[in-house]
Symmetry: C2
Subunit: 83 residues, 2 copies
């Protein structure tokens, strides 16, 4: 499937899509959803990967990342944001 089609599905220029595909740009949520739809893949899975990526980018390069993730985990447990 040519980028042209994907790009069209996302309402963006092929140039932009290209960058997203190459990881030079972050997709936005709606775009991830649209991609899941067009490619007929599991949207939730894709969103998870996309979020994991964002989190990774936020914490990579830090020290004690495990600690940070643990703290987050505790907060999740505590406030029961698990849906």
């Amino acid at each position: 499937m040519p980028q042209r089609q994907l790009a069209a599905a996302l309402n963006i220029d092929t140039a932009t899509y290209c960058k997203i595909e190459k990881g030079e740009r972050k997709a936005r949520r709606e775009q991830v959803e649209a991609i899941a739809y067009v490619l007929n893949t599991d949207e939730k899975e894709l969103i998870k990967l996309w979020l994991a990526d964002k989190v990774y980018e936020m914490v990579s390069g830090e020290s004690n990342v495990q600690d940070i993730l643990n703290i987050v985990n505790e907060k999740i447990l505590k406030y029961g944001q698990n849906i």
Copy 2:
């Protein structure tokens, strides 16, 4: 210690500091560091909490947060960003 002093230490308006303290604004990294310094607390700990907060904000409200955290964890292990 009055907000006025903290605010002064961060070179910002008390109003702005107030928002940060109430969680209506995110502090920026340098500000967290400055706070640690002024309050004479462990900077690394504070930064960890601050980052955990940011991550939490990013994922709370999502489903399967644990999955997401796991994925991140794997990436960390894989690419050895643990400093």
